[in-house]
């Protein structure tokens, strides 16, 4: 819903990857004008961390290059901050090979706070509260610690509650996808019993959409009541067959043609 120029290639690269979610506290004295400087500093930091314990000659940067750039087209509202993309590329070490950089790790910050919170943020603080990482956990830790030290902020793993997963299931099921649609799959984990039990409930995409369409009153608007009713219908159909109360179990994963999300804080956007 933004009117900025969108770089389709950059956005496309975000798709079909698994992202781990983190919540980030507001960053102190972060400046969009200094992205080049940050790239230089972070490159050096990553190289230094990677070299710890290795006997390497000074000046050899192991071919690692970090770039920070902005990601246009990902703002929720015009008041939101522009998203920031961080990428770690590694140059091939072999002398005769094409010295092209290959992206080995990506992370991006975006703002999802909305108008209310932004008004109360003091000056000097930048609110990019959601961070998504793809790639080796070791790189995520290094990048995270640099940001924490440099901008006095804090990263924490974001878990997705069953409530939010249910919202995603309802909204994504309602989306129209031109190509072949995968089933809407809900995965439940049963707590409090001696043997672990997982239940996968996959509904044919057309039938799930038909159910959502009868539940949703206003197109473009989704209410909590509608999400609850949608889920209750699914639980009820399940109970009729198996006599099991799915509402007593824990929704841990939701998957549709559009995207999938896991309560551990991993999401994957497919379209």
């Amino acid at each position: 819903s933004s009117t900025e120029n969108v770089d389709p290639q950059k956005i496309a690269f975000l798709l079909r990857k698994q992202w781990t979610l983190y919540s980030v506290t507001p960053m102190y004295k972060f400046s969009y004008g200094n992205l080049k400087e940050y790239s230089r500093l972070l490159s050096a930091f990553v190289a230094a961390e990677k070299q710890k314990g290795l006997a390497v000659e000074v000046g050899n940067d192991l071919g690692i290059k970090v770039t920070l750039s902005t990601l246009l087209g990902l703002k929720g509202t015009d008041q939101d901050q522009v998203a920031v993309l961080v990428q770690i590329a590694s140059r091939s070490q072999l002398p005769f090979e094409n010295a092209e950089n290959k992206v080995v790790w990506s992370g991006w910050f975006c703002c999802i706070s909305g108008d209310d919170l932004l008004e109360s943020v003091p000056e000097d603080f930048t609110c990019l509260s959601l961070f998504l990482a793809n790639g080796a956990e070791s790189y995520t830790a290094i990048v995270g610690s640099w940001f924490q030290k440099t901008f006095d902020c804090y990263f924490s793993r974001l878990t997705i509650s069953p409530l939010n997963l249910a919202w995603m299931a309802a909204m994504w099921t309602g989306c129209k996808v031109d190509s072949h649609m995968a089933a809407t799959e809900l995965v439940f984990s049963v707590p409090c019993i001696p043997q672990s039990l997982d239940i996968s409930y996959a509904i044919h995409s057309e039938d799930a959409k038909a159910l959502w369409d009868t539940v949703q009153k206003t197109p473009g608007e989704v209410t909590q009541e509608e999400v609850n009713l949608f889920m209750d219908c699914l639980y009820s159909h399940f109970h009729r067959h198996f006599k099991i109360h799915l509402s007593a179990t824990r929704l841990v994963k939701v998957s549709t043609s559009i995207a999938s999300a896991h309560c551990d804080g991993n999401i994957k956007v497919l379209d």
Binding site: S196, L197, S200, Y201, H204, A210, S236, F242, H245
Partner: protein
């Protein structure tokens, strides 16, 4: 000895951790004690495996023993054999005859195939088949294992592949039975499959896996008399209903059950939302390290009604864990249909 078989042995030995090599080789029982003594486990693993291969040169049936060590890794399917009504059924099972006919049938269809037999005490015949094609040698790494209890009409086959029709044909021919069909029952643990089809679970008077009877009249703990157990009667009812359905003993160990539902959508009366006359298609999969025990514990934990749905409780009796459920006219509960 076949090159590919030698290579297979060599790679298998390399995979075994050094500290377990002697143990494994002894278990395989195809090398004599004196032969085993000649192997030095302190040398390079490459040399150890080469030594084993050399000792095996004279023995052709060693690959049978892989069956024992690998049996827990496969997903076994059950196939049932129907007996021939107009009989060519022999009265006593002849092992040599079976082996000969089986080999002949399979080899007439496919030149490149490795077949090995191994008999065990409980009348189980294990057959290992490595499949090749017209132009390639048999692939020793993706073998199919078949377990046939000659006194029963059941055959267990590991991992379904395209060569199953050939295999079934050979089995039918060799066993003098009329027909063979696949049952909708799959598990990682062949013993549980056996438990289910041979009805070796929760029998009234004799349990296959006996376990001590639980004390019913437990001496009451020293609890504060002001604490009352809510719903005591309901809890007891659930326990007794559960016991009736699931039986006393341990449940056979299966890991998953799958239901393909094609019934009409029907929730609570207030939710009769979908006016579609089309079925609400969904696939439900249950998975657990021990599915039946997990299902048994649902009602006592308050997450399910007691009695649990017959769709779930019929698994051992019906000997299936793959179902296709369609709407049955006039009755609310759905029935099971064949494959």
């Amino acid at each position: 000895m076949d090159e590919t078989v030698a290579e297979y042995i060599r790679r298998t030995v390399l995979k075994i951790p050094r500290c377990q090599i002697m143990e494994m080789l002894t278990m395989w029982e195809f090398l004599s004690k004196t032969q085993l003594q000649t192997i030095n486990v302190h040398q390079l693993k490459e040399r150890i495996s080469q030594a084993v291969v050399e000792l095996c040169e004279v023995i052709t049936s060693i690959v049978n023993d892989q069956i024992v060590s690998n049996s827990h890794n496969f997903v076994f399917t059950i196939s049932g054999i129907f007996s021939c009504i107009t009989g060519e059924e022999t009265d006593s099972f002849n092992l040599a005859d079976f082996k000969y006919k089986f080999k002949r049938s399979l080899r007439s269809a496919l030149k490149n195939v490795t077949i090995n037999f191994r008999e065990y005490e409980d009348n189980a015949i294990w057959i290992r088949i490595a499949w090749g094609t017209q132009y390639t040698k048999p692939n020793q790494y993706k073998a199919t294992y078949v377990v046939y209890h000659s006194q029963t009409p059941y055959v267990f086959i590991s991992s379904l592949r395209s060569s199953i029709p050939l295999l079934c044909q050979a089995l039918v021919h060799a066993s003098n039975y009329h027909d063979i069909h696949e049952m909708e029952l799959r598990s990682r643990c062949i013993d549980s499959l056996k438990d289910i089809v041979f009805k070796r679970y929760s029998q009234t008077f004799q349990t296959y896996h006996p376990r001590p009877l639980q004390e019913r009249n437990v001496a009451p703990e020293k609890v504060d008399p002001r604490i009352i157990q809510e719903n005591k009667r309901e809890k007891e009812r659930i326990q007794s209903v559960n016991q009736e359905i699931f039986g006393e003993g341990l449940q056979p160990k299966i890991e998953f059950a799958q239901y393909k539902l094609e019934t009409m959508f029907k929730g609570e009366p207030e939710m009769d939302i979908l006016t579609e006359k089309e079925p609400f298609r969904c696939v439900v999969k249950f998975s657990s390290p021990h599915l039946l025990e997990a299902l048994k514990s649902l009602a006592p934990a308050g997450m399910a009604d007691a009695p649990l749905s017959p769709l779930l409780t019929c698994i051992p009796q019906k000997a299936r864990n793959y179902f296709k459920i369609k709407e049955r006219k006039g009755i609310l509960s759905a029935s099971c249909l064949g494959p």
